[in-house]
Amino acid sequence: MSKKISLTLKVWRQNRGEEGRFETYQAGNIDTDASFLEMLDVVNDELTLSGKEPIAFEHDCREGICGCCGSLVNGKTHGSHERTTLCQLHMRHFKDGEMIVIEPFRATAFPVIKDLIVDRSALDRIIAEGGYISVKTGNAPEASTTPVKKALAEAAMDAAECIGCGACVAACPNGAAMLFTAAKVNQYALLPQGHPERAQRVKNMVAKMDELGFGNCSNEYECAVACPKGIDVKNIAALNREFIKANLKCEK
């Protein structure tokens, strides 16, 4: 059964182009069935009506699939509950009277725009380097002419579940985008359709990742723990293999 709890929030506030700071707010009478973002809605309504600016935070689908939401909650990306996005984290996991610290994702490649909103467009720029199969509309052969082993299709789907939220980057001590990039590279490496561009894809995506200020992987595995979709860290090993193979073959 749901009940009501009260919380103290320490929230990162930052205006565009200015230094940020923590502000403290009270969140009273919060229903434990509410989601974390619904709790922020309640706080924002109170801030608005008391003449203050509400906390800016990114959100859209609120069902854990669009990848918009995400903040550090008590130092953990999307909070400490396993395999969840912030919108799917519910207040029943918090205790009455608890203090919660809420910050934006911290990473060199993700500059803060305002309050809890960061710029994650660097992730799209990695995808633009080859996170797709170059097939024009109209080119495709009949779908059943390309049988794909069930196990491979399942493994590709495991990798493809990434929602692009950036938690892996924010959780990594080096601010690396290895898990994100690896998931996309591996999805297409597993599928026969992805093979013609296999070598070029991994080389270009890795080069872009380095260029955009993402760090290197030092096998901390924090990314896989933070991932709301449970993307396996083995994808990074697969990425490394793809990268080495592509470079050894000197393929264009």
């Binding site: 749901s2 205006n15 565009r16 229903d31 069935d33 509410a34 973002l37 619904e38 709790m39 809605d41 309504d45 801030l47 608005t48 009506l49 600016e53 800016a56 859209d60 689908c61 609120r62 069902e63 699939i65 669009c66 990848g67 918009c68 969840t84 799917q88 519910h90 305002k114 909103i117 994650r120 467009s121 992730l123 799209d124 995808i127 996170g131 797709y132 199969i133 170059s134 097939v135 024009k136 509309t137 109209g138 495709a140 052969p141 779908a143 059943s144 390309t146 049988p147 794909v148 082993k149 069930k150 299709a153 399942e154 590709a156 789907m157 493809a160 929602i163 692009g164 599928l191 359709q193």
Partner: protein, 638 residues
């Protein structure tokens, strides 16, 4: 004065699209790059259209209010996408998909468009497989199918419970490919505020940079809206929080007719409402109805836990009333029946506004592992939200607003009544009639974007003349000034209620009076109340912050201001259509068994409303619907 011309090609149904593609004017490759096209929205329809038009050589400018095109709400579609491949060898065909869709839409869609949709369905699957979308497969490596409502064949392709995500990421990849190539210029965190019309043609947009607040002007030869549906007018829906009707509404006010706004789809399997603070509703995929059985207690007010109610005291009402389709009846029927049993006092859960969706029998028959493999992510999501375990306790579900069949009126080329303005995907009205079948939204979005629009927009671009205009044209200045004025007025009210507070008030009125069941008195009451709520909104809303900054409250206020106007048209349309059809159930028009009763003699048309000025009554235009292939009949799923 608008004259509706659907431009349906001549000839037999099965040859119309092929003939039409031959007859439309083409733009030669060297000339394509001279044409700039604006595409608003990056969901399935928008992303696929932008990428494909760029592949063809047009200069495409793509706009999204999100930080990335990958966030569009198509991403949340769970269950699947229909196609007439007939891989299971169960008697499917293009004709059957066409037939099922026309019948499922309760004979309120345009046959020629639906036939084309069914024709394109197979091409979509071919293309998406080539894109590397990891569809579910059988052990032999071939594609798997499952069943959805309103069909007796298995024609739904799926990628676990994340089909929309995978298809969108495919289209997003194609879009990124074209961005990299330079064919698409992407504008993220940029919201369209107005459509600019010059010499009777849509020639551009006014957009707002959501980070800096700056209003920007963009000129083009054609504008394509792929901005989704208006379900969020109800406040609570399964739509994403930022989904809105603003672009479509501004287009309406600039001359594009709005068709069938009263057709909304209430999806039968959603997690029930549980609190005042609730911001949205969550869908549980229709695919669950393949194995889940829907029931309520036979006795009114039976408060025993589900597992203590013996088999003989349960009413599997869909299986009882519709033996040939059972739990897989179309969405409108499943929703209405859930409402009916709850209204009888047989609803379950703390609010009495829920029915059970029970997997006990399926788990016994197939084993828990099998059910987990099929629906694991959905069960997990249910558990996260409700804190209950659907493997041991039946799920509780209730209908919720999910999709809108109404939208901007378009002709066969998907052009609105405003020349040069196109509408694709959910924002148009064309393919689903009064009720959309499950797994058909993804099909329509991708058909429009990959295969239809790129083959029809050339007809307009090749046959129209374009005067050379720049963003310094006075029409841009006027639109921008009006947009700025509206934002300033919203900020100036400085009242005592939040935007959401007003939005909730409007939404609950619509849910009560223009939701799953509608009647004349209720609709008339809503028509009186909406202008009062709108007036109160403009007198007492509180929008903090400034227009020169990232200001989410202002974004929301600007969208809700449009919903306040749109709601009135929706209710007006519901009142005018005094028949029941599909998702539009008028209590005055039902059969003896309580099923929707169409009135083909008086209402076999598309209602297309033309804006006549702020304080004027809109004008109703009627596009008569003719059924050459699927003969009008009372829909039966018994």
């Amino acid at each position: 004065m608008v004259k509706l011309d659907a431009r349906i090609p001549d000839g037999p149904m099965a040859e119309k699209w092929t003939n039409h593609k031959f007859k439309v004017k083409l733009v030669n490759p060297a000339n394509k790059r001279k044409h700039k096209v604006i595409v608003v929205g990056t969901g399935l329809a928008g992303a696929s259209a932008a990428a494909t038009m760029s592949e063809l050589g047009y200069q495409v400018h793509s706009f999204t209010y999100s930080d990335s095109p990958r966030r569009a709400h198509s991403i949340a579609a769970q269950g699947g996408i229909n196609a007439a491949k007939n891989y299971p060898n169960d008697g499917d065909s293009i004709y059957r998909l066409f037939y099922d869709t026309v019948k499922g839409g309760d004979f309120r869609s345009r046959e020629a468009n639906v036939y084309r949709l069914a024709e394109c369905s197979n091409l979509i699957i071919d293309h998406c497989v080539a894109q590397g979308i990891p569809f579910a497969r059988e052990y032999g490596g071939y594609l798997a199918n499952r069943s959805f409502g309103g069909a007796q064949v298995s024609r739904t392709f799926y990628a676990r419970g994340q089909t929309g995500q995978q298809l969108l990421l495919g289209a997003f990849g194609a879009l990124q490919k074209e961005i990299k190539k330079g064919g698409v210029k992407m504008h993220t965190r940029t919201e369209v505020i107005d459509i600019v019309v010059i010499d009777g043609q849509a020639r551009g947009i006014i957009a707002r940079n959501l980070v800096t607040g700056e209003l920007t002007r963009h000129v083009a030869d054609a504008v394509v809206l792929a901005t989704g549906g208006y379900g969020n007018v109800f406040f609570l829906s399964t739509n994403a929080m930022n989904c809105n009707a603003s672009a479509a509404w501004r287009a309406y006010k600039k001359g594009a007719c709005f068709a069938n706004p009263c057709y909304t789809q209430i999806h039968p399997t959603c997690i029930p409402v549980h609190g005042e603070y609730q911001s949205k509703l969550t869908l549980m995929s229709e695919s669950l109805r393949n194995d889940g059985r829907i029931w309520v207690p036979k006795q009114k007010g039976d408060k025993r836990p589900a597992n203590e109610i013996p088999e003989a005291e349960r009413d599997y009402y869909l299986e009882r009333k519709y033996p040939s389709f059972g739990n897989l009846v179309p969405r409108d029927l499943a929703s209405r029946n859930a409402k009916q049993v709850c209204d009888e006092g047989r609803g379950v859960g703390p609010t009495g506004q829920a029915v059970y969706l029970d997997f006990a029998e399926a788990i016994q028959r197939l084993g828990r592992d099998n059910i987990e493999a099929k629906y694991g992510n959905l069960f997990e999501m249910y558990n996260r939200i409700t804190d209950e375990d659907p493997y041991t306790t039946p799920m509780m579900i209730y209908p919720a607003v999910h999709y809108t069949m109404g939208g901007l009126w378009v002709d066969y080329n998907l052009m609105t009544t405003l020349p040069g303005l196109y509408a694709i995907g959910e924002v148009n009205f064309s393919d689903h009639g009064a009720n959309r079948l499950g797994a058909s939204a993804l099909m329509q979005g991708l058909a429009d974007g990959y295969f239809v629009l790129p083959n029809t927009i050339n007809d307009y671009l090749a046959s129209s003349s374009f005067t050379k205009v720049g963003t310094d044209h006075e029409a841009f200045a006027e639109s921008e000034a009006a947009a700025k004025d509206k934002l300033d007025r919203l900020l100036a009210v400085n009242g005592s209620r939040t935007v959401d507070d007003f939005h909730k008030e409007l939404g609950s009125l619509l849910w009560e009076k223009c939701g799953m069941a509608r009647n004349e008195a209720g609709l008339k009451e809503a028509l009186e109340r909406i202008p009062q709520i709108r007036k109160a909104f403009w007198e007492n809303v509180n929008v903090p912050g400034s227009a020169d900054d990232l200001n989410q409250a202002l974004e929301k206020a600007n969208r809700v201001a449009d919903f306040m106007e749109f709601a009135e048209l929706m209710v007006k349309d519901a009142l005018e259509r005094a028949e029941s059809c599909g998702g539009h159930f008028r209590e005055e028009s039902q059969t003896e068994e309580g099923e929707a009763l169409r009135d083909d003699e008086n209402f076999c048309y598309v209602s297309a409303w033309e804006f006549k000025g702020l304080d004027q009554e809109p004008e109703l235009h009627k596009e008569a619907l003719e059924f050459e292939e699927v003969h009008l009949s009372q829909r039966s799923y018994k």
